[in-house]
C-alpha cells in the first residue's frame, strides 16, 4: 500500500505543539521534550563540549519563555529554535575568539539551518521506519545501531547464527529504503528547487 505524502505535513506537524498560538508551561515543556535532543545534536556541531552546547540550548529556551507573550508564533517555532541555537553558537564562538588567541575551527560555522531542519525530518521518518520493521528484524537492528552490539554478540544473545543476524540487518535496511525512497526524493527535490 503506497503511503501518500504531502510536503505540507513538513510544515504543519509542529503546529500541534502550540494550539491557539499561546505558549504556556505545558506546551513549553512539550516543545522542550520534542526538540531538545535534536537541538543538542545541532548545537554540538558548533560547540563539541556537551556543557557548552547545553548552555546554548538552555538559553534559547529560557529566552523563548521570557518572550512568550511578545513572540510572533505564527511562523515555525521549530525554525525559530534552530535559528536561535545557530546564532547563539556563532556568538559564543565569536566571543571566545575575542578573548583568546586559540584557533576556533571555522569549517563548521556555515552549517545551514534549513538543511538541519530537513535532516531532522528525515530522522523522524527514519524513526517511524524503524518502528515499522518486523519485530525480530527491528530488535536485531536496534541492538546493533542503538546498543552498539556486534553481529556475533547479537547472535549469541538471541541464539541465532551470525548469518541470520547479517540477513536481518540487510532486510532492515532494505525495508527502510523502500519506506523512505519516496520521501528522500521529495526532500532532494525541495532542496534542489530551493537552490535555484
Amino acid at each position: 500500500m503506497e503511503e501518500t505524502f504531502s510536503i505540507f505535513t513538513l510544515m504543519t506537524r509542529e503546529k500541534e505543539l502550540h494550539t491557539a498560538g499561546k505558549i504556556d508551561k505545558t506546551s513549553f515543556e512539550a516543545l522542550f521534550r520534542k526538540f531538545f535532543p535534536a537541538l543538542m545534536a545541532f548545537s554540538r556541531k558548533f560547540l563539541p563540549d556537551e556543557d557548552d552546547a547545553r548552555e546554548v540550548v538552555h538559553s534559547v529556551f529560557i529566552n523563548l519563555w521570557e518572550r512568550r507573550d511578545t513572540l510572533d508564533t505564527s511562523g515555525s517555532l521549530k525554525s525559530y529554535l534552530f535559528t536561535s541555537v545557530h546564532n547563539r553558537c556563532l556568538n559564543t564562538i565569536r566571543d571566545r575568539k575575542k578573548f583568546s588567541d586559540a584557533e576556533v575551527p571555522e569549517s563548521e560555522s556555515d552549517i545551514d539551518v534549513q538543511a538541519q531542519l530537513e535532516s531532522m525530518e528525515l530522522e523522524e521518518k527514519i524513526g517511524e521506519a524503524i518502528a515499522s520493521l518486523p519485530e525480530k528484524c527491528r530488535e536485531i537492528f536496534e541492538m546493533n545501531r542503538f546498543q552498539g552490539l556486534k553481529y556475533a554478540e547479537i547472535a549469541e544473545k538471541l541464539g541465532l547464527s551470525v548469518k541470520t543476524v547479517e540477513n536481518q540487518m540487510s532486510k532492515a535496511l532494505k525495508i527502510m529504503r523502500e519506506k523512505l525512497a519516496h520521501y528522500l526524493t521529495i526532500v532532494i527535490w525541495i532542496l534542489w528547487n530551493g537552490l535555484n
Binding site: K25, F36, I126
Partner: protein, 336 residues
C-alpha cells in the same frame, strides 16, 4: 535503482561494511567494487544516507529528556514562585548521594536506612513517601514507599547492577561501557541510558516495566525465557506464574504518578481512579457498593493534596466520604 536481485546479493555486504563487520581486506575489495559499478555505488550512497540518519537518531536517544527538563526547570522561574527547597537528604555512600531533587513527602516524612553488608552490595530502603537518590554516575533513582534497592559499591565493575524490591523510577545516565542492570523479582532489565519505571512489589502478580525514553531490554531471570526490547510508550509485563513475558503497547498514563503526583483520567471508571489514587497517596480508600465502580470521571490533577483530590471526585460524582478504622469509604447514589 530497481534491481532487487542486486539488492539481495549486495545489501548484506553494504550493511556489514557500514556496521564495521568487515576486516580490512574485505573493506578494500568492497570499496573497489562500489567504485567500479555505478549501480552498486548509488545503492551504497542511499544506504549510507539512511545509516547516517540512524546514527544521528542513536546519538540523540542518549539524552535523558526527563533529566534535561529537570535541569532546565531548576534554572527557570515559571510562575514567580519557585519549587520548595524540600527536605533534601544528603546520603554520602560510596555510590549514592542524595539528589538535589524536590523531595516528595507524602504521608509524613520519607524514611531511609542504609544497611552495610559484608559483601559488595549496600542497601537503601524507603519506608514511607518517596525519595530520590543520585548515583555517582549521574543516574537518578526515585524510590516509592516500601521499596528496597541493593546496589554494587564496586565502581570499577563492568556493569552497574542493582536489585530492586518494590517500585522505582530510573533515569539512567548513558554509559555504553557499563550497562545498567536491574534485577526485579523474576525479571532482569538491562539498559545503557534511558528512563523507565519498574513496579515489582513482592505481592504483585507481575513485574511491570514502562519506558519513558530510550530503549530497555527485559527478560526473565531464568535464562530460558526470551528477551524483549521496549520503546517509549511500551510496557513489558512479566507474569510470575507461567513466566510469560508480554509487550503491552498502550502504557498507563499514570504509571509514574506516584513520583510526579500528576494523574490524568479520561472517562476512567471510578474503581480504576481509586486504585490509582491509593497507589499515589498510599491511601486506603474503598468503595463497598460495586455499582459505583463503573461511574466514569474525566479530570486531571497536578500535585494536589489527597483532600483536594477527593473533594473533586466526591463533588463530581455526588459521593460522600466517611472514615472508619483507617479506611476512607466512598458511598453514593450511583450514576445516572
Amino acid at each position: 535503482m530497481k534491481n532487487e536481485a542486486l539488492h539481495s546479493q549486495f545489501g548484506a555486504k553494504i550493511a556489514s561494511y557500514l556496521a564495521g563487520e568487515m576486516n580490512p581486506g574485505e573493506r578494500v575489495s568492497f570499496e573497489q567494487e562500489i567504485a567500479a559499478d555505478a549501480e552498486k555505488g548509488e545503492l551504497f550512497s542511499e544506504y549510507s544516507k539512511i545509516w547516517k540518519g540512524v546514527d544521528q537518531l542513536a546519538e540523540q536517544s542518549g539524552y535523558n529528556v526527563d533529566e534535561e527538563w529537570g535541569i532546565l526547570s531548576e534554572k527557570m522561574d515559571f510562575s514567580g514562585k519557585r519549587g520548595l527547597p524540600g527536605n533534601t537528604r544528603k546520603l554520602r555512600a560510596f555510590v549514592f548521594r542524595a539528589a538535589a531533587v524536590l523531595l516528595i513527602g507524602i504521608a509524613g516524612v520519607a524514611g531511609w536506612v542504609v544497611v552495610r553488608n559484608m559483601n559488595a552490595y549496600e542497601a537503601l530502603a524507603v519506608e514511607e513517601g518517596s525519595e530520590t537518590f543520585e548515583l555517582s554516575d549521574g543516574s537518578v533513582i526515585t524510590m516509592n514507599a516500601g521499596t528496597t534497592l541493593k546496589y554494587d559499591t564496586r565502581e570499577n565493575s563492568g556493569e552497574r547492577r542493582v536489585i530492586l524490591s518494590g517500585e522505582a523510577f530510573f533515569e539512567i545516565a548513558r554509559d555504553t561501557a557499563r550497562p545498567f542492570v536491574v534485577e526485579a523479582g523474576s525479571a532482569v532489565i538491562e539498559v545503557l541510558g534511558t528512563s523507565f519505571n519498574v513496579n515489582a512489589y513482592r505481592e504483585n502478580e507481575t513485574v511491570e516495566v514502562t519506558v519513558h525514553s530510550g530503549l530497555v531490554s527485559m527478560a526473565a531471570r531464568s535464562k530460558t525465557g526470551k528477551q524483549i526490547l521496549l520503546n517509549p510508550g511500551n510496557a513489558g509485563v512479566l507474569y510470575k506464574t507461567g513466566k510469560q513475558l508480554d509487550i503491552v503497547s498502550t502504557a498507563d498514563p499514570n504509571d509514574i504518578a506516584w513520583k510526579t503526583r500528576e494523574m490524568v483520567f479520561s472517562g476512567t471508571p471510578l474503581g480504576e481512579v481509586i486504585s490509582v489514587v491509593n497507589h499515589v497517596y498510599r491511601s486506603n480508600i474503598v468503595i463497598p457498593d460495586p455499582s459505583l465502580m463503573n461511574c466514569t470521571i474525566t479530570v486531571s490533577f497536578r500535585d494536589q493534596e489527597l483532600g483536594a483530590v477527593l473533594e473533586v471526585i466526591t463533588s463530581t460524582l455526588d459521593l460522600s466520604l466517611s472514615r472508619e478504622e483507617g479506611q476512607l469509604i466512598l458511598t453514593g447514589e450511583g450514576c445516572k
